[in-house]
Symmetry: C2
Subunit: 330 residues, 2 copies
């Protein structure tokens, strides 16, 4: 089995074999480019790469998890625009020929995620990499009929909300890195949140339909992502630490290992929750609509006219949100 290495055409054949047909996919894998028939000429496009040793390690992530995540992080970007994913391209690079089993596992996770969100694999590219495994996924999707959710639409006085939970992914990474089987057995949900994030596509669609003024997915940590919205909108914010949606598991793990759950929630990233803003007088209706579609959401703060971005804890202490969150080149 270990000898069952695939060459370039073997890789492409296996990808073709595992992929699903789709009536909108007019030209699929195996030609110079794919041809996809969208249901309108306005198309959302996003791309994200995952590099071994940077975004994942194969001692904590299975190949199937890596495949899932490469799809999920892009679908989450479409969700953050209020859109619906439609098709994807995969550029796959490895520093050695993969076996059929390795590639099937990787593609299995990728296709499982794509198919859960009605997104078809339309094409791609495969080559050798300089080191390790890397995947770049492009996802194209349809914007919501009212127009996309931007980062730049938040207005002073808007409420700020989050749907999904914050910190579970960072807590799960802590468990994985600890190497502790006991922690892993005790907190399987946290590990799952890190390895198999769930993009909130329905929540994004509801946010667009209920006229959210801005939205972004929480990939680099809430603090940084909410600051992106503030910067793009030319506003500031005040968040309430006590309102952040942190799970009982994350609180329990943080307590058990002497970490701060709030640090994971603000700076951990890879939550793929959605942070959004909306007019204060319509905000309860937005939260109810999200709740009704199975995406519980909470109000976590308010947009301010001043450009400061701060968080207030239960004792009234104000902390600047700057300087937290993931940054690739420091």
């Amino acid at each position: 089995m270990a000898e069952d290495k695939l060459d370039e055409s073997g890789i492409i054949s296996l990808i073709e074999e595992l992929s699903q047909p789709d009536p909108a996919l007019i030209v699929g894998i195996g030609d110079d480019a794919a041809l996809y028939k969208f249901n309108m000429p306005d198309v959302l496009l996003t791309v994200d790469s995952l590099y071994e040793g940077v975004h994942f390690d194969l001692d904590t992530h299975s190949l199937s998890d890596v495949g899932w995540k490469a799809a999920a992080v892009n679908i989450s970007d479409i969700a953050a625009m209020g859109g619906s994913p439609a098709c994807a391209l995969l550029s796959l690079a490895w520093d050695r020929a993969p076996t059929r089993i390795e590639l099937s596992s990787l593609l299995g996770g990728l296709l499982e995620c794509l198919s859960e969100f009605n997104c078809v694999l339309a094409g791609g590219d495969t080559c050798r990499s300089g080191s390790g495994l890397s995947l770049t996924v492009t996802v194209a999707g349809m914007p919501p009929s009212r127009g996309p959710l931007r980062r730049s639409g938040a207005r002073p006085g808007d409420a700020i909300g989050v749907t999904g939970v914050l910190g579970d992914s960072a807590a799960g990474l802590y468990v994985l890195k600890s190497g502790s089987d006991e922690l892993r057995g005790r907190f399987p949900g946290l590990v799952e949140a890190h390895l198999r994030p769930k993009p909130l596509v329905t929540a994004g669609e509801v946010l667009a339909a209920t006229k959210a003024t801005a939205a972004e997915d929480v990939s680099d940590g809430l603090a940084r992502d909410v600051r992106n919205i503030c910067m793009a909108s030319g506003v500031g914010c005040v968040l309430e630490a006590g309102s952040l949606p942190v799970s009982v598991d994350t609180l329990e793990l943080a307590g058990a290992v002497g970490m701060e759950a709030l640090d994971w929630a603000l700076g951990g990233g890879e939550d793929y929750a959605l942070v959004f803003t909306g007019a204060a007088d319509r905000f309860d209706r937005m939260l109810n609509a999200l709740n009704d579609c199975g995406n519980p959401a909470v109000r976590i703060g308010e947009v301010t006219e001043q450009s400061d971005t701060v968080i207030i804890d239960g004792s009234g202490k104000r902390t600047d949100l700057g300087g937290t969150g993931y940054e690739h080149f420091t």
Copy 2:
């Protein structure tokens, strides 16, 4: 200057700064996804990655050349479908923070190529890589009104043609790898063909308009790419070695250094010429139409019913085309 390193947001800001606006680009760089308004709902999509040490070396390629090539190879895929490029995404990964000058040079080459082919940079992603520099470019474009050029439409009796030249890129790579300033000074056109390939977008459009039955761009070497068409179409071919469009420079270099120009033409790859097939009784009209738009083209052989793919030289000797061309995982 050497200290002027860019962080993630510095990289994104510089990309925003250098990019051009475009009325069809409704949401550009800096949000979760781009939104582009195509002129129809049918969209061509292609992706290709370039890895340092695999596709290029920075001792032979300038950063500007790498940027150009990353765009060009994708635009060439759109050209091979007979389409017109519209917008692009860039996923850029580096194992260290780039300086402003390095990034400007890389982006300069990329944007120069995109802009020459009316393609706007719509968005992207930047992160650290496991090693070296890598770029993944996605290009979206519009298919021709008669439908895309496929690899699968060649029929027995069709003529086979090529527009562009074969072997210049491989010959240019030979010059670069030789390290010889004398050769470089003597054959600047060959070096240019390797470093700055020109996608044949107009030629692809003409091929679609004149009803070519199949087409592909020559990226892995003519032998392999023509075999792709034959396999996809369930046919074979006979090529005439004496008809291949090989430049005087390539012949001269091959003679001077004791190499075979035919090997470069058949197996070198990265020519980004277009190989195509068309009905024999309309073929002269296709060649004339290509010629009239500044893309000289020649007939190089014929599609056969038997699945053999062979090339015949002047003495009548037949050689199987199998086993040549670039393969990533061997």
